[in-house]
């Protein structure tokens, strides 16, 4: 097993080196700044994560064209944790200890993030995590560049309540930590809003679930009591395609029972014909269809880099871009890639996001983001139907009684990820 891993890592390194060499044939520097890329290139999550690996290679290539960082060229070190959560920790350790990377960009599922947390803490390195997640966490060495629940789930539910008059809710998700925590927050939020318990149905399915007949038929029954019903979907990964196919085939139209999804983006929709799904929704902080010059320029550069004019962009890609740009800025400001200096420098830095706004790194290691609600179109893209102001990411949900008094603040004098505002002490634990 280890031999195979080494071989893979070596292969990744080789690829990265070749890329670096291609980018700077003349400079021939012996010293580079290494950047770790920790995304699954095989297994179930490869579908989503491979694109982020390519995004990192693209960003590093662009940065090197601009002259690199601190006068040095950047070098990507790509490893493959193979959608295997414990392997993420092993690979992270390898990146930091063996390859000596300055920062790591990676992980997708919350399970993989939780698996690497102790490694980053122990070895004092930096992780940029680019995916929307369940919150209830803020770690000194991690920057959460995806959405916290208050930047995705809560606004989406608000939109449905206000614009579609939804009174009855199906919370459907894959059976793991992100959907479960998100649904717990949403359930509490809905109850606070006066939704009765019998108007909320919660349903979990295993990873890669493919037989949705019963569940879709249950949703149909649940939605036929005269009250407007909506489905809030935290279904992850490749289970989405059969789910939407079954919805379409059983004739559930968005006008009757809209589905709002938190894990379905342009990449996932590329897998099927979206004509029967027009009107179902997704909530993200970025859509490829957002019509601003920054986005158009990014899409063009990306498609040229990939050599594929049909290559789509999505939200976690934007989060990766923002994370990378903030890291570059922080390193430039600190004048070094030293972890502690970068951690200090990055707080409060701002970079333009790709939808015409500004992403600011907050003291709780989350970003300011606009919340966009989009409706699926027949061409597999999203049409934005609602766009919010910039929302600051909240690590600890204000809607769960056990975490509403907890705040994260990594600046002095608090300097911790779980500060209890009532006891005025760090070290609070929730969940």
């Amino acid at each position: 097993m280890t031999v195979v891993n080494r071989a893979f890592a070596g292969l990744g390194l080789g690829v990265a080196m070749t890329m670096g060499a291609v980018a700077v044939p003349a400079l021939a520097q012996d010293e580079t700044i290494k950047v770790g890329v920790l995304h699954s290139l095989s297994g179930t999550m490869a579908i989503s994560e491979t694109t982020l690996k390519d995004t990192m290679l693209f960003l590093i290539d662009e940065q090197n064209k601009k002259g690199g960082l601190l006068g040095k060229q950047l070098e990507a070190v790509v490893v493959d944790p193979a959608s295997d959560w414990p392997l993420f920790a092993e690979k992270a350790r390898e990146l930091i200890e063996v390859n000596g990377v300055a920062a790591v960009f990676g992980c997708w599922t919350s399970s993989s993030r939780k698996s690497v947390l102790p490694v980053f803490e122990e070895l004092n390195s930096i992780l940029f995590y680019p995916v929307q997640y369940e919150g209830e966490e803020s770690q000194r060495n991690v920057f959460y560049t995806g959405a916290a629940p208050n930047q995705q789930a809560i606004p989406a539910v608000d939109y449905l309540m206000e614009n579609e008059g939804v009174e009855r809710w199906v919370l459907a998700g894959t059976d793991y930590v992100y959907p479960q925590t998100t649904n717990k927050i949403l359930e509490q939020y809905l109850m606070d809003k006066g939704v009765a318990a019998e108007d909320i149905m919660i349903n979990y399915t295993p990873f890669g679930h493919s037989d949705w007949q019963t569940i879709v038929s249950d949703i149909k029954t649940f939605g036929s009591t005269g009250k407007k019903t909506a489905v809030v979907s935290t279904i992850n990964g490749d289970a989405n395609v059969p789910f939407y196919k079954e919805l379409a085939n059983q004739g559930i139209k968005a006008e009757d029972i809209p589905v709002v999804a938190f894990s379905v983006g342009e990449e996932e929709l590329a897998g099927f014909d979206t004509t029967p799904l027009v009107g179902h929704l997704a909530a993200w902080n970025y859509f490829q269809s957002v019509d601003v010059p920054e986005n158009a320029a990014f899409i063009e550069a990306w498609q040229t880099f990939m050599g594929n004019p049909d290559k789509v962009t999505n939200d976690p890609m934007e989060a990766t871009v923002i994370g990378f740009n903030l890291w570059v800025q922080a390193v430039e400001k600190a004048g070094t890639t030293d972890t502690d200096a970068v951690l200090d420098a990055i707080i409060g830095l701002e970079t333009p996001n790709l939808t015409g706004g500004i992403a600011k790194m907050l003291p709780n290691h989350h970003l300011t983001k606009p919340v966009l609600i989009g409706e699926i179109q027949a061409d597999g893209q999203f049409e934005v139907v609602s766009e919010s102001e910039l929302v600051p990411g909240d690590a600890w949900s204000d809607f769960l009684p056990e975490s509403k008094m907890i705040e994260a603040d990594w600046t002095a004098p608090i300097s911790c990820g779980n500060y209890n505002t009532e006891t005025k002490a760090c070290g609070a634990t929730a969940m």
């Binding site: 290139l41 095989s42 297994g43 179930t44 490869a46 579908i47 491979t50 614009n163 579609e164 059976d175 349903n203 979990y204 399915t205 295993p206 890669g208 679930h209 493919s210 037989d211 007949q213 019963t214 569940i215 038929s217 249950d218 149909k220 029954t221 036929s224 009591t225 005269g226 490749d238 395609v241 059969p242 196919k245 079954e246 379409a248 085939n249 059983q250 004739g251 968005a254 006008e255 809209p258 990449e267 996932e268 590329a270 897998g271 099927f272 014909d273 029967p276 027009v278 009107g279 409706e375 179109q377 027949a378 049409e383 139907v385």
Partner: protein
Amino acid sequence: MTLLRMITTLMVVLGALLATPAHAQIADTELTPLVDALAPGNFKDREAAIGALVATGDPRVVPILQVLLEGELYFDEATGKVVFTSASSGKGTITDPVTAAELPEITEDGLEKVKVNNGLRRVLRTAIGQMTLLSEDPGVRLFAAQSILRDADPAQLELLDSAISAETDSSIRRVMEQARAAIVLKTPDAAIEDWQAAIPVVQAIGGRDALNTLTTALNTAPEDVKPLIQTAIDGLARDRAVWDVAQNIWFGISLGSVLLLAAIGLAITFGVMGVINMAHGEMVMLGAYTTFVVQEIIRQNYPGLFDWSLAIALPLAFLFTGLVGVAIERGIIRFLYGRPLETLLATWGLSLIIQQAVQRIFTANIREVGNPTWMSGSFELGGLAITWNRFYIVIFALMVFVALLLVLKYTAIGLHMRAVTQNRRMASAMGIRTPLVDALTFGLGSGIAGLAGVALSQIGNVSPNLGQGYIIDSFMVVVFGGVGNLWGTLVGALTLGIANKFIEPYAGAVLGKIIILVLIILFIQRRPRGLFALKGRSIEA
């Protein structure tokens, strides 16, 4: 919001009243600003603008609303003028939606889409419905009546009454009367006689929609008719309960047929030959990718043949995966007969190699495999909702099963296969070329897995991991059904499918799967050789 809605409704009613007597055209100069009002503002403003348009009763409004409903209505960003694009006007040029005049000064680049959301689509459908309820075309009238039935907006009662009295087609009139009844049930101050007449009409619609309408009506109904409604609800609910059981059985059969398809190839390679083939799932995956490639070629070169794509993909997938199977048998497995552990490891490694190879060629992204039109949507059979794709897969699975049974029973190669598996040495002594038979048997099993891949591409997604999801289930079915017996595989697959679907509503999908696994383990403890154990002198016995 409610105020706006009320105003809109009011306008809708006014519009309907105006529209009913004559298809009045208003002046272009009056209509144009109303159409242009669709562009600015938010969805609420647009809803009001639609209401104003409907109020004109002008027949030219209907196509504009239809284009808007399809999301194909655009406006010029500079002037705010709403236009038909070249695609929506059908003329290849940008035209004025009111006068149909060409607008050469506006270019496609400056156009912006008039956005619609779900709420607006509903409003539009209702608006179009009431504007076309008196159309000449029966198809349009039926569609209009259905959309009114869906919304059952009390404001449309009068319009509906006049439409009913003018209607000549009995089936359309029935829908209109159902819509009328549904509306009456939403009007608490309607006469008791009206209520009494409406309840059986709604009950006759049947299904969930009727139940839905009646349950809602129960709260607002006059006291006198409440028992009547309750009886109707009880009757419908009783029907529903019976149909729900039937629906569950159907779901089970459908799931069972998927299991059967995935397992039947394994029943040959594992069941008949005794080879633990961990790469079986990858054969299914290769079959699905063959479908994808066939569809891509058809899409690019012969779009007219798309509905035939599956029929073309089936033999190709069978041949391709069959050949891969023969190659695997000749290249790897034949050296490992009698060493099950090594076979397991070798084929598992092989499955990883195939997965990564496919990922290199096709990338890790999910590939789109379309449903031909005859496999999309669903049909109703009594109270059963049956989706076409599942329906055809059940039929297909049974056909594959029967075909395989016939091959094994009535062909020479089938006879040889059975001979070799029952007693290899004796078969060899009788002059059967056992290595060839082994290769062909393995190829047949793999080819059938490829066929399964074609079918499964229609319900699941096509990605390099497709096979992994089915491998465990396939082994489960074969072991449960009894190794070496095709009938066991059939019964095993259907039993597991139906059991799963009866447990799922109570225990949920996650726990349901666990319960099934536990039950199988207990069952295997009692009967180690599965449901249909092979009797007699098997070689390993």
